[in-house]
Amino acid sequence: MSTSSVSKGCFVFKPSAKKKKRTLDVGDYFIDGCEGSGNSELRFKLCQSLWDKMKTETEVLQDELNRKILDRLLEFAGRPSSTFQHGADDWAARMRASEIPTAALVLGVNVPDHDMTFQSLSDLLRQSVTPHVASVQAKECGALKHLMQRVLERLMGTVVSAEHASTQLHNKRVHCSLGTLCDWYKSKTKVGGKDTANQPQPPVVIIFKDLEAFNPRVLQDFILICSRYVEHLPLMFIFGIATSPSTIQHILPHSVSSLLCIELFQSLSCTQHLSTVIDKLILTPQFPFKLSGKVLQVLVGIFLYHDFSVRNFIKGLQLSLLEHFHSQPLSVLCCRKKEALANVLQLSHQDLESVRQLPSFRRYVERQEPQEQVNLLTDDTHIKGVCQKLIKGLRKYHKNFYPILRCLHTLTSSLPKYPLGKQIRELYILCLEKNVWENEEYQSAMQLLRMLARDELVASLQTCAEILKPVKAKKMRNVLDQLEDLLAKFKQLDKITSPEKGLQKKTDLFQLQKTLLEMKESRRSKKMSPFEILRNEAVDFIDSLVRCYLAPPESQPLNEVCYYSSSAVVRRHLNATPRTSIQTALSNPYHYLQNDTLRSEDGTVSNAAPDICIVHKLHLECGRLINLYDWLEVSCSKAVSELEFLGFIKSTKQKTDHVARLTWGGC
């Protein structure tokens, strides 16, 4: 903005009413800077609806996975507490020390995932067992006072200050003590029903989300206090443990742990959890969006090497989804079949040009007749028709791909040394990258299959049949029929071979030797038994299936529509390297500032670059000690202190006016 004034000073500009800035929502951010902005709104909508579907799927999955352990926990919480409910006449109950029932819930080291589990746990507890549930985290309970305050706040639903607080209603002080809680509980349960003696009273559940992080002293004192009230208040603890249950023994001395009645609950391991998520979200034709092998490897790598967190894996999936729809204009076709076919008709000329640019499409064109090639490259309506056909083909490819993948995995996952990987995701990544049958491991797996014992082979083939049964694709039906034929043949083998079992009748040494010799003979002459013939037939059948259906997606025209492949972007976003970023920013400021004046040749810094970049460049040329006196002629001292803040140099007392360099290299 400018003024007509000639003097320097501050001027107030009132914003004009018309130009009121609309607050940007997520969609605007998406559309802003989107590749090929023509259909960006549609893409955003598709992206969101697809993500919503995937999200609900993961939530359902989460619930299912947690159900078992949550059910056990609910049962535990619903169990009448032995010390509280028993009548005084029961001898054993009177004699027993009053213990607080405690569930030690071992959840694994993937701490970010725990929140979801605890959320559903406390929801379920509130629904079915007791309204009195409080969960606390270590970071909000530094001292006993605070822990007490949090527990009371969350149970009673009011705010009580640690020191003093007075509720005006009763004109009585409310103190942060369990005595207050006791009174509150009594008033609550009395209101509910008059006949409380016979009715089991709802327990008061306190969830410690991260036991390891709690100050042991605080926890011990809290338990000591609670144990004093256990006769009046049916308390119950749930300890969320990330490492191993023996931490309880490290944190609590015997005098305190003897006040608890600890029962162990072990949750599903996070690797199993990941397998299920991959199974339901990725190894399914249900969702059109797919990850390329590299991206999947990056995500799985982050999981296995860094955090074990399923939630972060799903976040990574979300990021790739968003990036795909953001960067790929043709992602409008990445949706359900009907919509996709309709969207093909809506494609603009520009979009069709980018279809023609797709490597997979170019490969497809090259395979066509010359006349057809010309048509594809020039006729827009023709290419639309072909696109529809190709989209359908891609869908069929996916429908057949996953069942066959699962079959191959069931057959190979029991082989010694797992030539094709123990987990299905390893096999999947192999299949995504290149023709799986060209792998050496695949060859050896097939060889091992040809040596498999009969019952094992039949059992695996039967599982394959089970996998194929619910699949509705036509081709898979045929495959299933063939497989069942094979299985029937194996069964018939039984009837043929059973009368030949003369061997078991009487085995003296001579007889055995003779039969062994015969067997050796027969092997040399390669005369195969009927079972061996059938086994070879079965393995050949499997091999043909693999060659037919497990071709990598790159071979499919238009695969770029569904497959997201920029693993570098995903890695940059999810596994940031702060040091490299700082180096880049200092040595090549254009990378981040995107200012054309900063553009420079390799290894040089333009004059317009910020001072710190220049100082950084200078410091790279210096030895271990840097003479600041020389520098001050060049640049201001602010940049020097910035460099010190970033940890490149530090002040030293060895020489006056010198700083020490903290990075490697130099003279």
Partner: protein
């Protein structure tokens, strides 16, 4: 025995009733009663009672105060997260809730004394008032002036009041540097085996004879006395295992008089209880369930410490290994272990005698972050980029308490850590990544 508990101010009948409820503590109760004197007499300002857990301190005091109907206030110091709570509870039980509500927000000691005196002038003490402080050792962590003031509260409020402190530790550990009024000390010794037997045998099961229960207690003490003398715990264990003891009787296999057979039946069972339920490896509910199950299935429930295995991400494992090496190897040996061409290190120079084998005995030593990362990059077999998640893994290892940060958390410049895992644990971890950690430990060279 009732002769010990005698006082001219109380009826003999009443004292006998009290004495019956205090088995094996007649001597202490008698001393206490003679110190306390009659209800109207002035008593000693403060009494300090100490003895181990479950040696009857609170029980004796409460029995005396309750049965003799003396005005008293009981406060558990562990509950008093602030002094305000302590003052309030005392005023509440001595003068009623009106007095307690007079306390201002975050009251000081002088507020308390002022209100006490004020109330006292309204209702002067006819009988000695008693203030009982349980777990008095926690008073030391509260305000510095609190303990000395409580010890001479009688003087401060000019009232007939006695403060009784109960603690598990001796008075020497209480005495403030500045000096204070010395309370009268009274020690409650541990119960002897005979006394434990006598006390435990009192609560016999209604459907069995007292002799049988007494012999059961005898067997129980035979097993547990060497490890546990805590009355509360012993009573708990007695209750948990009694049904098993009675099993042969219920089935009619054995008569009550056949103690030897009963002993043979229960002894292995009790030994097992000592290793499991006593250590809280198995909860008492699970223990009871186990008893109902057949003998064969008992292997199904494993104790808490059986689940020591921790699953960690791949790089976390290596970070932990690096931390262990940094904690237990002297820094000057790093060159020898982790630099490929470290040149000749003279053996005599390298192996210093006093350092040898002592590192594991001395415990982990702190190391800076730089050293941890340097060792990490040399032990991990592939090239690892220094990503943000590597650093965040270090802090998650700290929250999992596998590493411990030395010094304060807000030292972000060059943080120092210690490795907080045992050798067995780290060996199990390194086995999963095929890393032979023993080869890299200076102590085992």
């Amino acid at each position: 025995m009732a002769a010990l508990l005698q006082h001219p101010c109380y009826e003999e009948e009443r004292l006998r009733r009290v004495a019956d409820k205090l088995p094996c503590r007649e001597v202490q109760a008698g001393t206490l009663l003679s110190v306390m004197g009659g209800p109207e007499q002035h008593s000693f300002p403060s009494i300090f009672i100490y003895g181990h857990r479950a040696s009857g301190k609170s029980h004796v005091i409460h029995m005396l105060l309750r049965e003799l109907e003396l005005p008293h206030a009981t406060v558990s110091c562990v509950e008093c997260v602030s002094v305000a709570l302590l003052f309030e509870q005392v005023l509440l039980s001595l003068f009623g809730c009106d007095a307690a509500s007079l306390l201002p927000r975050s009251p000081s000691l002088s507020d308390f004394v002022r209100i006490y005196r004020q109330q006292c002038s309204h209702s002067p003490a006819v009988q000695t008032r008693y203030i009982v402080m349980e777990k008095a050792e926690l008073l030391r962590d509260m305000d510095a002036n609190l303990l000395p003031a409580l010890l001479r509260l009688q003087e401060l409020v000019q009232d007939n009041v006695t403060v009784i402190l109960l603690s598990e530790i001796v008075w020497d550990k209480f005495r403030p540097n500045t000096g204070c009024f010395e309370p009268l000390q009274l020690h409650f010794p541990d119960y002897s085996k005979g006394e434990l037997q006598q006390i435990l045998a009192q609560d016999s099961h209604p459907s069995y004879s007292a002799e049988l229960y007494s012999s059961y207690i005898n067997i129980l003490l035979g097993v547990f006395y060497s490890v546990c003398r805590d009355l509360r715990e012993l009573r708990h264990l007695a209750a948990l295992n009694f049904s098993k003891f009675c099993e042969p009787l219920e089935e009619g296999k054995v008569k009550e008089s056949d103690t030897h057979k009963l002993w043979r039946n229960i002894e292995p069972h009790l030994k097992k209880a000592m290793q499991t339920v006593y250590l809280r490896e198995v909860s008492s509910v699970q223990w009871e369930q186990l008893q109902q199950m057949e003998e064969k299935d008992t292997g199904a429930v494993r104790g808490l410490s059986a689940h020591a295995h921790v699953e960690l991400p791949y790089y976390s494992k290596f970070l932990l290994i690096a931390a262990y090496l940094a904690s237990y190897n002297p820094a000057r040996t790093d060159k020898r272990f982790f630099v490929k061409h470290h040149g000749k290190v003279r053996k005599t120079n390298f192996l210093k005698k006093h350092e040898k084998t002592s590192n594991h005995l001395l415990g982990p030593k702190p190391f800076p972050l730089d050293r941890l990362l340097a060792i990490f990059y040399s032990v991990v077999d592939s090239r690892v980029a220094p990503t943000a998640s590597i650093f965040s893994q270090i802090s998650s290892l700290v929250t999992l308490q596998l590493l411990a940060q030395v010094g304060h958390d807000d030292q972000i410049d060059a943080p120092k850590y210690k490795c907080a895992v045992s050798l067995d644990f780290i060996r199990a971890i390194s086995r999963t990544v095929n890393f032979d950690i023993v080869k890299y430990l200076y102590d085992f060279l």
